[in-house]
Symmetry: C2
Subunit: 422 residues, 2 copies
């Protein structure tokens, strides 16, 4: 790696740090920073973000475990903030007896527990406080299903409903829907497990767990910061995402007005990937199905990963270089100034034990989490195009589906969902 | 943290690096080193282990993903080498038609695949080579059940059999036993998922998956290197372990003679932990059940985590400070020069979705992996004492159990298990 690459990485890191700060609605001074220029709780006073050789000498044990992502802000954390290695998505059903008052009580406890845990402080009822001490960039993001809003006597946004059925779907009800959603993310799996348990413990008087989906990306420090994730097909996954901190991101993701202003929507799809039959396809076939090169994620029309595909390019024989049936062509949104068909995806791989007695050696796939201001205008047209024609459909099957409304972030002293429910 | 602590940490790191080299039967020059003094594949020539400010400046992007642990050596990797954040244990049954020749063919493929994957090189049949490129300290450890030795026409060691039944057990056959065991560990969950799949792909003509157990410890960089792990009860777990690289470790773990010389045995127990009822116990009750302080793992008779418990100490009222029923007193082995009742544990936490419809909010526990030269002389007496009386039994239930013989490591060009099977 050349010196120039190092400098570019460092600039990208600093930008990511500033972006995280803006995204969470706070000054860059408290933002989360990349590896090598970390800001720990013990060290949050005078250091500059860039660091220096002297800093590196003085703090050889800077730990990802001590890093925090601010909980309070204009937007909830866990969306514009960098995706950590581990995430668990929890879908809950409210108990029959949980009325509006109980919903509000539950959310106040949830807000308080989440604020403490993400700061590395044990919640009031935590009997294992030592497990809360290293939050490792923990984030907690809360979403509402239509049932919660109804229970609280509030009208749900028109888009807050199950997606229409698609011919490609094989949905399992036990993997979808729900009244309340918690998305918990962290760089450390023990911090994640403890936080998820503490949050559920605080909720269990008011709600029961409907489903639980856990996924992973690369561990912190495995590849260079800013590297686009790979899924279990080996594909570079998420290249076309808008970048947090840009006007395109803000336009695509944040709801501009109404009670959910500053919030967003989450479409969560559990997509089973048939790795065994994918394995039977040769490399050229795989690249044509995707429309991108496997090695670096660049479009088949050339350039680098982040260069635009040239959908008009043709081979010598007159065929499109990027095939009509390819995923990249079918998925491509229109980045119009009015929001267009742009979504922000923050997906996680899953790989769990296959059903006993089956022939499969793995049960793998993608927890596809898509955030957008309006799922009907942004997510749905893309999904309709993909369901109609996308070569990848041959090896993928949506088996779970849910839509949630994500309220804006809470200021200190506020309850999550206050603008929506009060 | 004081400067003195930093220096102590650094010395511990260097010692751990040297130990890993010795443990794997190779020179310290190729050993795996701790964070902050890493040795990457690109950088394996002239650097010293200690590093310097200049090194730190020249290599700001040293990545855990690029670190490797040598596969070849006197002992298999994954036992004396530092336990990484993620591990999956796979139990396999040989297919009925798999005869001695097929067993040997399978092991030759397995040895080749494991050697390549752990070096960050894709196996020959790998159709997603990009997923093999960042091994992140990947290790593959292979164990034999009695069925494999029988199929290969070799006599099993007398201790290679299921443990006797204990009154505390509630074993599920689908979580135990098997003809072949793969233990795959890595700091990165994607590297782990890919390696496990590639290994199973190479095996599937000869064997089927019987069980799969995945677990975690702290992610790399979450806490300081050398910190003893915590389990999901919040307990410091594994303090009494012998330290790799010491004569006590070698005596306890490695089989001294016979076809398995340089190998060891693995007792794998899946221990469910009832976190909900544990939560109902107050902090004093928890510490008395364990015999150690929760905050730092020190024995209740004082000192630090690694100070010896004073089992003779009594309270003013004449009761033992460390109760008769406490786990630490019951588990304590006798470190005699002849091997004694010493085991080496390298456990992993698990936390999975509870059974649907149940009242639990989590299904948690410990994948207890214990290595010792002779399970009958070392593991069994401890287990018998614990089964007879250990207050922790109230909150823990063994639900899976298996014993495997771990053959010694392979030299380059050798097949794993060669000394046993040829």
């Amino acid at each position: 790696m050349s010196r120039g690459d190092h400098d570019a990485d460092r600039r990208r890191l600093l930008r990511a740090g500033a972006i995280a700060g803006v995204g969470a609605g706070i000054g860059a001074g408290a933002g989360v920073l990349g590896a090598g220029a970390v800001r720990t709780r013990e060290d949050a006073l005078g250091r500059t973000a860039a660091g220096s050789a002297a800093d590196a000498e003085a703090a050889p044990t800077a730990l990802i475990g001590e890093e925090t992502i601010p909980f309070h802000g204009t937007h909830q954390a866990g969306i514009a903030t960098p995706a950590p290695a581990h995430a668990v998505f929890l879908g809950l059903d409210l108990r029959p007896e949980t009325d509006r008052d109980a919903v509000l009580r539950m959310l106040r406890v949830l807000t308080d527990d989440a604020a403490r845990l993400t700061a590395g402080t044990a919640p009031l009822a935590d009997t294992e406080p030592e497990l809360a001490a290293a939050p490792a960039r923990l984030t907690v993001t809360v979403g509402f299903g239509p049932g919660l809003l109804q229970r609280a006597g509030r009208e749900a946004p028109a888009w807050l409903a199950p997606l229409p059925a698609f011919a490609i779907d094989a949905l399992r009800p036990e993997l979808g829907d729900g009244d309340l959603m918690l998305q918990v993310g962290a760089e450390d799996p023990l911090a994640l497990a403890h936080a998820a348990r503490m949050l559920l413990k605080g909720l269990r008087g008011a709600a029961t767990v409907r489903w639980r989906q856990q996924g992973f990306r690369r561990a912190h420090g495995t590849v260079r910061p800013g590297t686009t994730m790979r899924n279990l097909f080996g594909q570079v996954d998420g290249t076309a995402n808008p970048q947090p901190g840009t006007p395109a991101f803000d336009r695509a993701v944040w709801i501009p007005e109404g009670p959910f202003a500053g919030g967003t929507s989450l479409v969560l799809r559990r997509i089973r990937m048939d790795v065994d039959t994918w394995d039977e396809l040769d490399r050229t076939g795989r690249e044509e199905a995707m429309g991108r090169r496997l090695a670096d994620g660049a479009p088949l029309t050339g350039g680098g990963e982040h260069d635009a595909p040239d959908f008009a390019a043709r081979t010598e024989n007159g065929f499109p270089v990027i095939a009509e049936f390819s995923h990249v062509r079918r998925a491509r949104g229109v980045d119009a100034a009015d929001g267009g068909q742009v979504i922000f995806r923050r997906a996680y791989n899953y790989d769990v034990a296959p059903d006993p007695g089956g022939a499969e050696i793995s049960e793998s796939g993608l927890i596809f989490a898509s955030y957008q201001a309006d799922p009907r205008a942004q997510f749905l047209p893309i999904q309709e195009r993909l369901a109609e024609l996308d070569l990848l459909n041959q090896w993928t099957t949506p088996i779970g589906s849910a839509v949630f409304a994500i309220p804006p972030g809470a200021a200190e002293g506020e309850m999550l969902g206050q603008s929506v429910l009060e």
